[in-house]
């Protein structure tokens, strides 16, 4: 048995009980009474700001009223009508920057209606009952390929299946779910929720998932386009940006997304090695998820090093505070210059930064902090090349997800626009499905 103070990157820093406790639900689900009290606070606003703030336009006042009148199942249907992954979004949405930030009670009292937790209450209630609240339309005879079984792809596939199309979903990984399954912190999706949600979504019928099939030689865009009536790409961002600094290849330096994935797929958390001194380079949700989970695994010191100021950090203030409350140190305006160590990482050399004429540069003031494990979390990049027009470094799409190629739509993190949120990916997949449907049925 190791401890928090054992040097190096080692497993078993905490007891099984401590680990199990640490990785329990971040927010316990509401019980019936709590849900009733929380639902009573909703004002049923006209043209409610929370709905406007929701990327999937869920009718929030309606579903909360349905909860308060004792019909959480109807509430869930209201949610799923707009967002078939409403269960996961209830867990991972940064509600503090979306619906709950817009809630008029946030303005009135600084305490918004707990929309996220109420959404989870409703969706959990319906999913637990084993009911799938949708029936497919009559078969259209059309076949659509969806590449990528993440939030965008699953949302698109479900909507297409609902409308009567047959859908084949390809995914490179051995399991469906995308970032829901592999990419978010374990304490946000306990009890194998991501996989259960996929099974539940699939129960509408008409969707076949083929895992272990990546776009490449055998499965290329030309072949799929020829084989199907339409194609939706929801391939996400497969590459991880490199730091391009000395020592990047030392043992102990790795991608935060791989760490999070290992953690999510681990059957025994105590077998997962983690450093005594962990440094996460980056400022997004991935950085926070990696940092907090390192701490929860028993790392003694965990630092997030971000090259800009707090306000520029893409992780929300809520997420920053979550990290801080777990004992993660947040360092701003520092950039990594090198990782030092003899074969394995031992220290990270950081330099303070400044912004001159809008350009970030080092101030020349350096420091070294202990680091036997360093995570890169400085963004992911699109890796597929299907000859599609790009916008920036992503696939260029219209409002309804059309790419530069006829018959090919795209959505989620791989496409332009959006904000790399699960809920936005769901909205894009859904909207592309509606456009695909309109196109295939000649409604446009």
């Amino acid at each position: 048995m190791n401890s928090q103070f054992t040097p190096g990157v080692v497993p078993k820093r905490l007891s099984t009980e401590d680990l199990s406790h640490n990785f329990d639900d971040l927010h316990a689900p509401l019980v019936v009474h709590e849900a009733a009290v929380a639902a009573d606070r909703c004002y049923f606003c006209h043209d409610a700001p929370c709905v406007t703030a929701c990327p999937t336009d869920i009718d929030i006042p309606l579903f909360i009223r349905q909860i308060s009148t004792g019909t959480p199942e109807a509430a869930a249907k209201t949610i799923f009508d707009m967002n078939i992954l409403g269960g996961m979004c209830a867990r991972v949405c940064p509600t503090e920057e979306l619906c709950e930030e817009a809630c008029v009670r946030e303005l009135a009292e600084g305490k918004p209606v707990e929309i996220g937790r109420l959404q989870r209450f409703a969706t959990d209630t319906l999913m637990k009952s084993g009911v799938h609240p949708f029936n497919r339309a009559d078969p259209t005879g059309k076949r659509v390929a969806v590449v990528g079984a993440g939030p965008a792809g699953l949302s698109c596939a479900h909507r297409l299946a609902l409308l009567g199309h047959d859908v084949t979903v390809y995914d490179a990984r051995p399991k469906a779910g995308g970032l829901n399954e592999f990419g978010i912190a374990a304490y946000k999706s306990t009890d194998d929720f991501a996989a259960r949600e996929v099974d539940w979504l699939m129960s509408i019928g008409g969707i076949t998932i083929e895992t272990g099939k990546a776009l490449g030689d055998a499965l290329n865009l030309d072949a799929i386009s020829a084989d199907f009536d339409a194609v939706f790409l929801g391939v996400g961002l497969g590459g991880v940006n490199a730091m391009g600094i000395a020592g990047d290849d030392l043992d102990g330096v790795s991608d935060a997304v791989s760490f999070i994935e290992d953690l999510r797929q681990a059957s025994d958390l105590s077998a997962l090695p983690v450093g005594r001194n962990v440094v996460v380079i980056g400022g997004g949700m991935t950085a926070v998820d990696a940092a907090v989970q390192s701490k929860l695994l028993g790392a003694e010191q965990v630092t997030i090093a971000y090259r800009r100021g707090r306000e520029a950090m893409s992780a929300s203030r809520y997420e920053q505070d979550l990290a801080a409350s777990h004992g993660v140190k947040l360092m701003f305006n520092v950039k990594p210059n090198a990782v030092h160590g003899n074969g394995a990482a031992a220290e990270v050399e950081l330099e303070y930064t400044q912004i001159i004429d809008g350009k970030l540069s080092g101030t020349g003031e350096n420091m070294r902090i202990a680091a036997d494990q360093v995570f890169r979390a400085i963004g992911q990049t699109l890796t597929m090349d299907g000859g599609l027009a790009l916008e920036g470094r992503k696939i260029a799409v219209t409002d309804t997800g059309r790419t530069s190629r006829d018959g090919v739509w795209a959505g989620g993190d791989c496409s332009s626009g959006g904000n790399d949120l699960t809920v936005t990916a769901v909205a894009e997949g859904r909207d592309a499905a509606m456009d695909i449907h309109a196109t295939l049925t000649g409604d446009v």
Partner: protein
């Protein structure tokens, strides 16, 4: 400094807050707790004739209409009068009165509509030393089926007759408790007066079915698959009760008849409102049944504070002050013009005023893309709906339009002269203004 001491019908109590005849006053134990908590008086739970007491159901007696957060808005009950032996109750009343001489104890009575029955019980009550009696002519459930309670209260002649017997065989004040389950409250009140009643108390509970159990397809509370109507009380009935109080206060025949106000009194403010409408004191039940006896402490401190703020030194100072301002609709000033006004600093942009006005009223609220809400004076009829649906108190207010300005809705100049329907040109029976 405000003095809450009241002398109602010559009965002194340290404050105007009495507990109504109901479950909280059914026995010595409860009443002692009430007095320790600070209640000024109690009306003891209704006694029946000597002999085997009534029996209550053994299933649920109460049902409730809830507001947000399960706040009790209305309470329905099917409990009968006391189901304890008459002499046990009388002994307890005597003991408690002896121990709390400064508090009022009134004994509620309900016996058959026969002179002998009243003649038998009244000396027993007299002997307890209680301060007076209240005749329960109001309970709408159970006892009414046996010719008592509301069955008496709905027949003015019976009220008059029984009241007269009571005045004949009992020396202390007689209060007649009125049922609201009638058409014109002034009729039973006048009958009580004719019988010699010293006061009326109102209202007793309202006939009600609180809810229907949709699984059992029966009214709730459901007992063995069946339900019955009960008596409704609590905050929800206060407006109905206050209207009846005002009717009695305004009717030439009954004006000046002392009243004890009952119906949904939950806070000091409710009590002050009843007193302003002419009640000499108030009786409380549902608030105590919801929150316990301690609520009286807020009622006392709140009423004292308000009286101090207003410069009232005694209850009498403002008792009945609102009566002259209760008028018939036809006497309302049609030249009084107001417009809603939304305080933008207080507005939380929920849009409920907009939805209410746009969908159900006069389309007098404008909404911008960035959710700013404002009143369109040219459409606003000052209906007050927006004020009442706004979740933020006083965010929307009614602003009186000053004489000399033009009402953009009608194009008419606002005048400061009074004019009502009786003289309005649209009224076919209008009389020319003098």
């Amino acid at each position: 400094m405000a003095d809450l001491t009241t002398e109602f019908l010559g009965i002194k109590s340290p404050n105007p807050f009495w507990l109504a005849s109901a479950p909280p006053t059914d026995k010595e134990y409860n009443v002692r707790r009430a007095f320790e908590a600070g209640w000024g008086g109690v009306v003891w739970k209704t006694l029946g004739s000597e002999g085997p007491p009534v029996v209550n159901v053994n299933g649920p007696r109460y049902g409730v209409v809830h507001g947000a957060d399960r706040r009790v808005l209305g309470l329905n009950n099917i409990e009968l009068i006391t189901d304890r032996d008459l002499f046990v109750n009388l002994e307890e009343i005597k003991r408690v009165k002896a121990d709390y001489p400064d508090r009022a104890i009134i004994v509620s009575l309900m016996v058959p509509c026969e002179e002998d029955a009243w003649k038998a019980i009244l000396p027993l009550v007299e002997e307890t030393g209680a301060d007076g009696i209240e005749l329960n002519f109001g309970c709408p459930h159970g006892m009414a089926e046996r010719g008592m309670g509301a069955a008496v209260g709905q027949v003015p002649e019976y009220i008059e007759m029984v009241t007269r017997w009571c005045k004949q065989y009992y020396s202390k004040p007689v209060i007649v408790k009125l049922t609201p389950n009638i058409t014109d409250i002034c009729q039973p009140a006048a009958a009580a007066m004719r019988g010699g009643a010293d006061a009326v108390s109102l209202i007793n509970t309202i006939n009600s079915i609180i809810s229907v159990d949709l699984d059992q397809m029966a009214p709730a509370p459901t007992i063995g698959g069946k339900g019955t109507h009960g008596g409704y009380c609590g905050p929800a009935v206060k407006p109905i009760a206050m209207n009846m109080v005002a009717e009695i206060a305004r009717s030439p025949e009954t004006a000046g008849l002392p009243m004890s106000g009952i119906g949904g009194i939950t806070t000091w403010r409710d009590a002050a409102e009843y007193i302003a409408l002419g009640c000499g004191n108030v009786q409380v039940c549902t608030a105590a049944m919801t929150y316990g006896f301690k609520v009286v402490q807020e009622m006392i401190s709140g009423l004292e504070q308000w009286m101090d703020e207003k410069g009232h030194t005694s209850i009498d100072d403002f008792m009945g002050s609102a009566i002259p301002n209760v008028v018939d609709w036809q006497h309302l000033d049609l030249n009084y013009i107001a417009k809603a006004s939304i305080n933008q600093d207080d507005c939380i942009s929920c849009g409920r005023c907009y939805a209410a006005c746009e969908d159900t009223s006069h389309q007098a609220i404008a909404m911008t893309a960035d959710r700013k809400f404002s009143v369109i004076d040219a459409e606003c009829v000052a209906c007050n709906l927006c004020v009442e649906v706004c979740p933020v108190e006083n965010c929307i207010t009614m602003v009186e339009q000053q004489p000399g300005t033009t009402d953009p809705r009608t194009g008419n100049v606002v005048v400061d002269t009074y004019a009502n329907w009786t003289t309005h040109p649209n009224n076919p029976s209008a009389t020319a203004a003098e």
